[in-house]
Every structure is written in structure tokens, then in C-alpha cells.
Amino acid sequence: MADQCAKEVHYRIFANCRRLPDQQRVERSDRRAYFQLHENHFNFMKMYYLTHFASHVRRFGSISIYSTGIGELAHKDQINDGYRRSNKNEAAREILSHYRHQHALGIRLRSIEALSKVGGVIVVEDSGMEMPTVPNRRTPDRVLKGHMKNTSTLTELCTALDIHYSNMMEEILCFIRHTAADDGQLPADAAELRLLPIEGFAQLQIPVPDFQETDWFQIHRARCTEQKAFRNRISRNHLVWVQIGGEANYRDLQGRVVLRLLALFKIRNILSEAAAVHRLALVRILDPINGGRFHIPSGPIRVGNQINGRDMQIVSIGAVIGQPQVIPSGKKQWIVDHRIDLRIFNEIYSIIQFNSVEYLFC
């Protein structure tokens, strides 16, 4: 009998467990209906039309090609410029023909350019002209710019940066130990390192490929002017993204960290035969708050100054992958704006999948 009772209780508990999500769902839809009835002021066409966007993409393709931005621009390009160049007498016809001429020439040039990319030399029909081929765009390299004076050895660099020499040396040695050994590797010895010539720089240009493009790049210019003023304003030490770990650490950030650039320098290993040049950056680590996860109540990822432990690090500039957009939020805390461009938005993406109902009410 007792056994039977226990079974029944057990069964009820399980039944309740199963029922709970249903109940929640009903409650949610009730709340949603209430919200729509009483607090809703979204009753206008532009709000509703969003529901057609996805089906439109399925049938006709990308949305941005249908944007009226082009048409609005045409008011200036075609009508205003056309009128300005006419003799203001019977202007309508002149406006109509003006842009057509411009446009036909533009299209012709573009098609010549496109054709020349495909094969060797092409012959332009009717004219017998030969167009040379344009070499395909290649991935630009990271470039260091803005040579800094009085930074020819590590000691001088440390003085300019106001950093203790032993700290700097420790970081470099740590970096050398972690990199793979090859011919041009830097000597892991403080006395030898001290003698190597270095050059300090103020700017790092990082080519960042455009989103969903292969041969267009945007140049991010990360500056670090050390203690000096930049354009008569306060000194600039920009933040950069650096790819450090795999996806396991800093999960939502996909293994990248936000760092503040302190110094950029080249160091040449004259002691080895290869005399290889290493391009390095001294950076200060900013700790991702909440383990680099999306902060559930307020959304975005935050980073802050590291409170304890080693806060500086040396990285190779090859690991620097771009600049983040951060917005200050309180003392020594920043919000990483992952919606700043499509590329970042696509890479740093909230793993939490929002159900549209939960989205509003949880």
C-alpha cells in the first residue's frame, strides 16, 4: 500500500514537471496578449512590415540593394548636378541627358576594369587599344608607422614609457619562452637583449577584411603615443583586439581579449646570422568582467582594469586583429560595443538564443 502511494506521488511529481513548461507557455502568451492590448503603441505600418523582411530575402535576395538610399542620393547626383551644368534653358531635357552620358562612360570604365582582372591583356574593341592587366589585390600587411625618436635600446624605451626596466625585461623573456624556437629567435638572455637595437613606433595599421568580402580591407589605425600629446590633446593609447586563446577561455569573446597598447617596437636580432626582425607590442591587459560572457541583465560584455597580478604583456603584432569600440561605463570599466560593425557583430555573437516571447518578458 505504502509502495503504491509512493508510486502515485512519484507519478504526480513527474506529471507536474511535464506540465510546468505548458503552464509557463500559457502564462507567457497571456502576458503577451495583455501587453499588446494595454501597453502597445506599435500599431503602425513600419513596425508591421518587418515581418515581410525574411520572406523577401528568401524570394529576392539581399535587402540593402533595394534601399531607397540610392534613390535619395540620385536627387543630388542626377537632378541637382544636372541642372547646375545645364544652361538653365529648357533644363529638363539637359538634366535627362547629362547623367546618361556620365553613367554610360562610368559603366564602360568599370567593365574594362572588371574584364582586365579576368585574363591577361585585353583588346578594347573598335579602338585597337590594349589595356594592361591590373594585378589582383593581395592581403595588405600590418604596418608600423610614426617612428619615435630616442628609442634605440630597451633602456631608452623604458624611460620614455616610464616603466621599470626589470618589468619590461621579464615580459620580453616571458614572450620569448612562449614562442616557438626558430633561426631568428631572440636570445633568452637579459644581457644580450639589452644590446639589441630597437625602434619605437607610434601607429599600427591593421588591415581588417570587410564583412562578406574577400578583397576589400578597412585599415584600423591603432595609435600609442606613449606619454606625449596627440594633436594637442591628451596622449592616445588605443585599445586593440588580440587573439590569444581558443574559444574555451573568454567564451563569448571567442578567445580574443581587449588590450591597451602601451608601446610598439621593432627589435632586430643582430647576434644571429639571419638578423630577423621581430615586431612586438607592449600591452596592458583589460580583464573581461563576468568571465567575458554577455552580462545577462544589461546585455553587452564589459571589460575593466586588471586589479591584481601581471597586467602587462608582450605580443607579436601578428596577433593584433583590429580595434574594438568601447564606451566608458563607470570608473575604469568599458562596455564592448559588439554591434559597431557587421564583422564584429557576426563574430562576437550572443550564444543565448532568444525566443521572441521570452525576449520581452523574462
Partner: protein, 283 residues
């Protein structure tokens, strides 16, 4: 994308406001003139869609082609004038005027402009009242559609989603009014202004020069920039909620982020089924 100027539309005289009757007459004349101009513009297209023409193809062959009007890119108000629908209604489907903010998963019947035209042209005198009533319910003005006369064109599909007017100038404006309301209610305007001032520069992003409340006129570009940074600014402004504000702030941030995410998704150049389902989930 090649753009050619086909015609310059006439600018109608303004309503002089002397009497309602005169205004109505003027409105009718304007509509007729517009209709006549569009008939004139679309005449070559009508013929060519029916009979076809020989055109050069990209690979060097010539083929008999039937160019068909497939998109008409313009603002919603202009669309409403040309399609002959009420300005608050959807040009794609027959959604009632009071359900526009309703459940996004609800599906309504598609507008069939050709059917409307047939109804309007071939009605019996006895049915006239019924038809007029049904048209009024749908918000369609009788026989005013400029595109129904062109062959092989589906007037419903001419209307395209439009990032500039729909999202940047329409929804972002609405969102900012709503955000201002939230900030005012919780007295966080100062925090928002402070965060607005401290937006750092970013490649391809124009930092606003003025304080938020000083901006009186927005350009499309500025609105787009706003959409890119608004969620972070708002998160910064609403960073210290007390216990009573916590739920409100959370909800506000989620709604704003959802719209920002949707907009960014809509700007993608190529889509996969996954991105589309994400887009739908943001609604």
C-alpha cells in the same frame, strides 16, 4: 547598379485651402496627372513585356528577352499614392489597420491588386455599394493602382523592404522617442548624455559632434550610426539600477538590442537559412 533618369515628375500646385471642394478637385487633378504620367512612362514597358525584344547577353549571344518590372524602390508614402492604398496600411497583405503591432507570426492574405481592379471595372450597379464597402475595409482606393495595367507584373511584389525609410528614419525615430521616455521616467538623461559625449572614434563610424538633445535633424547616415552604438550607450546609461528599476532596465535594453540586431542582420549581403531564422526571432 546602373541608374538612368527616365522622367522628371511634375510638381503639383499646393492646395490653396480656400474650400474643401476646391481642394478635393485639385487632389483629383493631381492624381489624374500622376496617373497619366505613369501611363506614359510605362507604355514601352507594356509592349516589350508582351512581345519581347532581342538583347545581347553577357556571354556574347543574343536572345529574345522579356524585361519585366520587378521592383519599385521608394518611400512608403509615395507607394501608397501609386498603389492607391491607405497610407497606414501594408502594401503586401490585407492586414487590418488596428493589428499592425500584433503578433509577427500571424499571416494575412496577400493583396491582389489585379483582382481589385477587375472588381472595380466590371461591377454591376447593384453590387457597387458592397464593393465600395469592402474596398474601404481594405483601405484600397478604387482603381487607383498605377501598375495593374502592365503585363506580367505583380504589383504586390513591387514594394521592397527599405532600410533607410523603414528602419533608420521610421523605427529608430520611434525607438528614440520611447528611449527618451524611459530615460525621463527613471531620471537617467544626464547619464545618457554623458555616455553619448564619450563615444570614441571608430573606422567607418562618424562620432556625433553635438549632444543628443541638441540634434534637431537626423540624416540617414547618422541614424545608422546611432543604431550601431545605441545599445552600448544605453547599457552604459542604465548601468546602476536599483531594485525597482531592474526589470524595466533589463526589458528596455533587450528591446533596443533586438531592434539593433535585426537591423544589422538586414544589412548582411548574403544570407543563410540560419541568419533568416535569427532575423525572425528578433521580432
Amino acid at each position: 547598379m546602373p541608374i538612368l533618369v527616365l522622367a522628371l515628375l511634375p510638381v503639383p500646385p499646393k492646395f490653396n485651402g480656400q474650400s474643401a471642394c476646391a481642394n478635393e478637385a485639385q487632389r483629383q487633378t493631381n492624381a489624374d496627372v500622376l496617373r497619366a504620367v505613369f501611363d506614359l512612362v510605362l507604355v514601352p514597358l507594356k509592349q516589350i513585356a508582351r512581345e519581347g525584344t532581342v538583347m545581347d547577353c553577357a556571354e556574347g549571344k543574343t536572345r529574345l528577352c522579356f524585361p519585366i518590372l520587378s521592383a519599385w524602390i521608394m518611400d512608403h508614402a509615395e507607394h501608397a499614392a501609386l498603389q492607391g492604398i491607405g497610407s497606414t496600411l501594408c502594401p503586401k497583405c490585407e492586414v487590418p489597420g488596428e493589428e499592425l503591432g500584433g503578433d509577427p507570426r500571424q499571416i494575412y492574405e496577400t493583396c491582389d491588386y489585379i483582382l481589385y481592379r477587375e472588381k472595380a471595372l466590371r461591377h454591376e450597379p447593384a453590387e457597387a455599394a458592397g464593393i465600395a464597402e469592402s474596398f474601404q475595409w481594405l483601405g484600397v482606393k478604387i482603381g487607383n493602382n498605377g501598375f495593374t495595367g502592365v503585363d506580367r507584373v505583380s504589383p504586390t511584389d513591387l514594394h521592397k523592404p527599405d532600410l533607410l525609410h523603414h528602419i533608420y528614419l521610421g523605427l529608430f525615430k520611434h525607438m528614440m522617442e520611447w528611449v527618451e521616455g524611459v530615460l525621463k521616467k527613471h531620471k537617467q538623461q544626464q547619464a545618457f548624455d554623458d555616455a553619448w559625449k564619450e563615444i570614441p572614434p571608430y573606422p567607418g563610424f562618424r562620432v556625433p559632434k553635438k549632444a543628443y538633445h541638441e540634434i534637431t535633424q537626423w540624416q540617414g547616415q547618422e541614424k545608422r550610426n546611432l543604431g550601431r552604438c545605441i545599445s552600448a550607450i544605453l547599457a552604459s546609461a542604465l548601468r546602476n539600477p536599483d531594485s525597482s528599476q531592474y526589470q524595466d532596465f533589463k526589458r528596455a535594453l533587450k528591446s533596443v538590442s533586438a531592434l539593433a540586431d535585426f537591423t544589422l542582420m538586414a544589412q548582411y549581403r548574403s544570407h543563410t537559412p540560419d541568419t533568416l531564422s535569427y532575423m525572425e526571432s528578433y521580432l
